[in-house]
C-alpha cells in the first residue's frame, strides 16, 4: 500500500511538472502531427489502403513520439541533481520506476488519442467502429511501451550517447508489443470484430506486459542504485 502511494506521488510529481512546463507534450505532439502529415504524402489516400496500413502507421507515430516522451522521463530529473535526491529519499527504486512509468503512460495516452483524432480527420477514416477493443489494444500496448521505455530511460540516463542509445535499444525490444498492436489495430480500425487469430495477439500483449513489468520492477533498483 505504501509502495503504491509512493509510486502515485512520483507519478503525480512528473505529471504536474509536465502540465506546468508542457515541454515533452508539446514536442512529441507536434512531432506526431508532422509524421502523420509526412505519411499522408507517402501513401495514396485511398480509404481501403489506409485502413490496411492504419495499424502500422499509427503505431509508428506512437512509437516515435513515445521515444521522445520516455527519453525525458529520467533526464528531466538530472537538473539540480534531483535524481540523486530522489534516490536518496526513503522511496525504493521500483516505486520511482512505477511512478514514472505511470506518468509516461498517461502522457502517451494523451498524445495517442490526439493523434487518433487527427488521423481520423486527415485520412478520412472512421476508427470508432470497434472502439472498445481498440481502446483495450491501445491501453495494453501503451503500458508495454511505457514500462520498457521507462526502464531503458533509467538505464541510459547517465550515458553520453543517451539520445542515440535509447531508441537503438528500445525499438527492437518493443517489436513483439508493436507487432501485436499493429496487427490488432489494423483489423479493428477496418471494423473487424475481435475473434479467432486476433486473440493470439492479445495474449502476446498481455504476456509482454507481465514479463517486462515483472522484470523491470525486479531489476530497476540495480540499475538506479547499483
Amino acid at each position: 500500500m505504501k509502495f503504491l502511494r509512493q509510486s502515485a506521488t512520483i507519478a503525480w510529481k512528473d505529471l504536474r511538472s509536465e502540465i506546468r512546463s508542457k515541454e515533452t507534450l508539446n514536442a512529441s505532439m507536434s512531432f506526431a502531427i508532422v509524421i502523420l502529415l509526412l505519411f499522408s504524402f507517402a501513401f495514396q489516400s485511398d480509404s481501403e489502403v489506409i485502413e490496411q496500413i492504419s495499424g502500422g502507421l499509427l503505431w509508428l507515430v506512437f512509437a516515435f513520439a513515445g521515444a521522445l516522451v520516455v527519453n525525458r522521463s529520467f533526464s528531466r530529473d538530472l537538473q539540480n541533481d534531483c535524481l540523486d535526491a530522489l534516490l536518496a529519499s526513503p522511496v525504493s527504486g521500483s516505486a520511482i520506476f512505477l511512478g514514472k512509468a505511470v506518468a509516461n503512460f498517461a502522457i502517451l495516452l494523451v498524445i495517442e488519442f490526439a493523434s487518433l483524432l487527427i488521423f481520423g480527420v486527415f485520412y478520412n477514416v472512421d476508427w470508432t467502429r470497434q472502439l472498445g477493443a481498440l481502446m483495450m489494444t491501445i491501453l495494453l500496448a501503451t503500458w508495454g511501451m511505457s514500462v520498457v521505455g521507462t526502464m531503458f530511460s533509467a538505464m541510459t540516463v547517465n550515458l553520453r550517447l543517451r539520445e542515440l542509445m535509447l531508441p537503438m535499444l528500445v525499438y527492437p525490444i518493443l517489436i513483439p508489443c508493436l507487432l501485436a498492436a499493429i496487427e490488432l489495430s489494423a483489423k479493428l480500425v477496418a471494423g473487424t470484430p475481435l475473434a479467432g487469430d486476433m486473440y493470439l495477439w492479445v495474449r502476446v500483449l498481455v504476456g509482454f506486459n507481465i514479463i517486462y513489468t515483472a522484470l523491470s520492477l525486479a531489476l530497476v533498483d540495480t540499475v538506479l542504485v547499483g
Binding site: M155, L159, M165, L169, I173, I175, I211, T222, V223, G226
Partner: protein
Amino acid sequence: MREKLIYALAAVAALLLTRNLYQMFIGLPDEVLQGAIYRIIFFHVPAAFTFMTGALVSMLASILYLARKDFSADSVAAAVTEVALVFGFVNLLTGMIWARIIWGVWWAWDARLTFMLISCLMYAGYLMLRRSIEEPTQRARMSAVLSILTFPAVVITYKAIDWWRNQHPGPVLTFRTGGGTMDPGMEQVLWLNFLGILLFATVLMMVRMRQEEIRREIDGLRREAHAI
C-alpha cells in the same frame, strides 16, 4: 593450464568438424525433395542452437554478476554474447541462402525469421551499450540488466514455429516431434555438428574472455598510474 585446455578443445572441435564434413558430403545421400542444398541444415540449426545456448549462458552469467558482483561473470557474459551473436548471423545467412534456392526469395517476414533478426539486433545493441559506458562497474551492471531483458526475445524466437503459422519449416528434430520427421542418420550428423560448433564456440569464448580479463587488468593499471 587454461591455454592448454583451449588448444585441446580446439583440436577436438577441429577433428569432430572434419569428421562431420566427411559424413555430410560423402556419407549421406542428397535429400529426395531438396537435393544437395539440404546440407545447409547441418550448419543452420546448430548455429541457431549455439546462439540460443550462448544467450542463455549470457543471461545466467548476468544474473550471477548481479547476485555476486563478480567481474569474471561479467567477462563470461560479454565474451559469450559476442561469440553467440556471430553464430546468430551465421544462422541468418545460411537460412537466407537456403531460402533463395528453396523459396526463391532471400527473406520472408514470418515470425521465426523476424524474431531471430530482432534477437540479433538486440544483442548487437548489448555490445554497443558495453562500448558506450566507460566506468567498469556501471558497464557490467547495465549490460547484465540488458542481457536479462533481451533473453525473452530468444525464447519467442525458439517458440515462434509453434505459436505462428510460418513460412519457415516447422519442427523436425525428434525431441520436438517424437520422431519420424527426419532420417536418423541425418539427425545424428546434425547433433554431432552442433557439438562440434559448440566446442568451437567455447574455444572462441575462452579466448575472448581472456582478452576481456587482460583489458580489465590494463584498465586497472592505467587507473593506478593515473592516481600516482
